[in-house]
């Protein structure tokens, strides 16, 4: 009993500690300018929606949300499109130097962004990708692929190979086996990878700032960062915009959570 109380207390403390800054932002976003600047601070906001209006209409927040949805969405789809067949092949086929390939992939994902920023910019400049949303999608896909392949490969490896034998006997080729038998079983892995890619692409700041210089293409992190004026720090608008930026991600993660259930492959084989 004592153990359980300690455990519960620990969990509450950890969750509280992580949620507190976010909670403060949510509270701040509903305050008025006077409430924000008040000393001592006001805890409970008056419920003003002024900052939301300002963020959405004066700062074109909707455009940023739309850009982020397009960029993060296409990054996730593209990365999965490449990662799924690659991971399946790496998990199952006998490829010479397979371990080497996986190791190199891991190294690639560890490259510091700063080190590749220059070359990426030059490359995109050559192919005309600067100031296009697809210009950031390309490096995002490249940077998230290694992790996605690693996650998916380990999921595919866990699936019983007898299922593939059964599928072959039943008349499936490699692609049908992948799509009709293996993919449905790897759903938890796919959603795990998808969420990680989505969060990365949604939050990425550095490349977005480098590649997208026009407000019409900029994503949420860059857009919000540029709220800052020369002499002013619009805390209220920033708070409101951050809440708007975070909500879609929370919704998506919560929706996907029910797909990330383990034991989906239970019943395939004994055990």
């Amino acid at each position: 009993m004592k153990r359980r109380i300690l455990l519960a207390g620990g969990i509450l403390a950890t969750v509280g500690l992580s949620l507190l800054p976010f909670l403060w932002f949510v509270l701040t976003s509903f305050k008025s300018q006077t409430e924000i600047e008040a000393v001592p601070p006001t805890w409970w906001p008056s419920g003003s929606l002024e900052f939301y209006r300002a963020a959405l209409f004066d700062h074109h927040l909707f455009d940023y949300v739309l850009n982020s949805v397009v960029v993060a969405g296409s990054t996730t789809l593209l990365a999965l499109l490449f990662a799924i067949p690659a991971a399946y092949a790496l998990a199952r086929l006998t490829i010479p130097g397979k371990r080497g390939i996986l190791a190199v992939l891991l190294c690639v994902s560890m490259f510091p962004q700063m080190a590749i920023a220059g070359p990426v910019w030059r490359l995109l400049d050559t192919v005309g990708g600067l100031n296009h949303r697809w210009g950031v999608v390309l490096p995002y896909v490249a940077l998230t692929l290694p992790l996605a392949i690693w996650i998916l490969a380990s999921f595919f490896k866990e699936l019983p190979p007898e299922l593939e034998d059964a599928a072959r006997v039943d008349g499936c080729g490699p692609w049908t086996t992948l799509f009709r038998v293996m993919l449905p079983l790897a759903t938890p892995g796919i959603f795990t990878a998808a969420i990680l890619i989505l969060i990365y692409a949604w939050n990425e700041f550095f490349f977005a700032l480098l590649i997208l210089t026009q407000p019409e293409q900029q994503t949420l992190p860059v857009g919000i960062a540029l709220f800052q004026g020369e002499f002013t720090m619009p805390w209220g608008e920033l708070a409101a915009a951050s809440v708007v930026a975070t909500l879609p991600l929370i919704v998506v993660v919560l929706l996907c959570q029910r797909w990330i259930v383990s034991g989906l492959s239970a019943g395939a084989v004994k055990g």
């Binding site: 019983p160 007898e162 299922l163 034998d165 059964a166 599928a167 072959r168 006997v169 039943d170 008349g171 499936c172 080729g173 049908t176 038998v181 449905p184 079983l185 034991g263 989906l264 492959s265 239970a266 019943g267 395939a268 084989v269 004994k270």
Partner: protein, 365 residues
């Protein structure tokens, strides 16, 4: 329904040879068992027949046609796996329909076949469940159903009962036998369980170290094992086998193995028995008699341990420094630690010369 022929199949993984020169004919409608200890290559052979693995050399022929270049799906075979391998995301009905859908069989035909197989296997109430909601025995039935709906030329079973508990295994074994008789299908069944092999098959192919040791009817495999390995592998408890030397002189032959010295009549031996050659002599535990009978060799043994099996007793005896097991009916007297006269009937002795069975020309077997 089909016949299968294997011609000189060999299989190596790098420098490891798993199968050596396997040739086998499986006639139409036969229930053939591939029996052997684990790691003997029997499952690999089954996978080669299925097309899941490729042999290093040799040919697989189904109905006289070479199928080596064909993928598993094109060979018209169905396979039941040891781990069932049901598709967990599909219901039982969809599992049964899967292979037929892949072959673009018409919907109403699929429905008919599923209904037929479900009735045969008594799994109608399970059709809309997912595999995870089934017990081991039920999953096994579904796995068989998935093979049956295909109406394939060949059924391949890879140790399908080894994951079930003992009781269920016995009842599924009986059902499987009935099923085979009803379907009149050609079935090839891999197992390491000699009881399954004896009861199910109409032919047993004993494989060891990648070689066929004997391919025969179950009764003959039991009564006339081709070599000491088959003799020791089939039968519980296994046959008593002694390695020794055969000495012939003055018209009498004597088998010696440690303290066991047995004079053997000339009728049991080849016309010109090899001098001082290494031979193996065997006798099944149930063939050793405790009562004197004509045409038997008598030895003096000591009963070291008695195992009571309920119906029978197993006597673990010692003759000098040799050990042997005798299976006999229950008896009242206390016999443990008692000396005992053992009789080896001549016609029950198995003689192996150079690891091959020797049968005298006029032997009844």
């Amino acid at each position: 329904m089909a016949e299968l022929e294997l011609c000189n199949i060999s299989k190596s993984f790098r420098d490891l040879t798993v199968l050596r020169d396997i040739s086998l004919q499986v006639p139409n409608g036969s229930f053939t068992i591939l029996l052997g200890p684990s790691g003997c290559g029997k499952s690999t052979l089954l996978r080669i027949i299925a097309g899941l693995d490729t042999q290093t050399t040799g040919q697989v022929l189904i109905d006289g046609n070479e199928v080596d270049h064909l993928p598993p799906a094109a060979r018209d075979i169905a396979m039941v796996f040891q781990q069932y391998a049901l598709y967990p995301h599909l219901s039982v009905r969809e599992n049964l329909a899967f292979a037929l859908k892949m072959r673009r069989v018409a919907r109403h035909v699929i429905d008919d076949r599923i209904a037929e197989a479900a009735q045969l296997l008594e799994i109608q109430p399970l059709l809309d469940r997912k595999p995870k909601d089934l017990s081991g025995g039920q999953r096994q039935r579904v796995a068989m159903g998935r093979a049956i709906v295909r109406k394939p030329k060949l059924f391949l079973f890879d140790e399908p009962l080894s994951n079930l508990d003992a009781q269920l295994r016995t009842s599924m074994r009986i059902e499987l036998k009935k099923l085979q008789q009803r379907l009149q299908a050609t079935m090839i069944y891999v197992t390491h369980d000699q009881v399954e092999a004896m009861t199910l098959g109409d032919r047993i192919v004993v494989i060891e170290s990648g070689r066929i040791r004997q391919a025969d009817e179950p009764q003959r495999t039991y009564a006339a094992p081709a070599d000491p390995f088959v003799a020791s592998f089939i039968g519980t408890p296994p046959m008593n086998l002694w390695e020794g030397t055969l000495t012939t002189g003055d018209g009498e032959s004597v088998f010696r193995s440690h303290d066991l010295i047995l004079p053997l009549p000339a009728t049991l031996l080849p016309p010109h028995p090899p001098q001082k050659s290494r031979v193996t002599l065997g006798i099944r535990p149930e063939d050793i008699a405790l009562q004197e009978k004509p045409g038997a060799i008598q030895v003096e043994g000591l009963v070291e341990l008695v195992e009571d099996l309920g119906a029978d007793l197993l006597l673990h005896c010692r003759v000098g420094d040799l050990r042997m097991v005798v299976r006999t009916a229950r008896q009242g007297d206390r016999i443990q630690d008692q000396p005992m006269r053992l009789f080896f009937p001549f016609d029950k002795l198995h003689l192996f010369i150079e690891n091959r069975r020797y049968d005298p020309p006029n032997a009844p077997t």
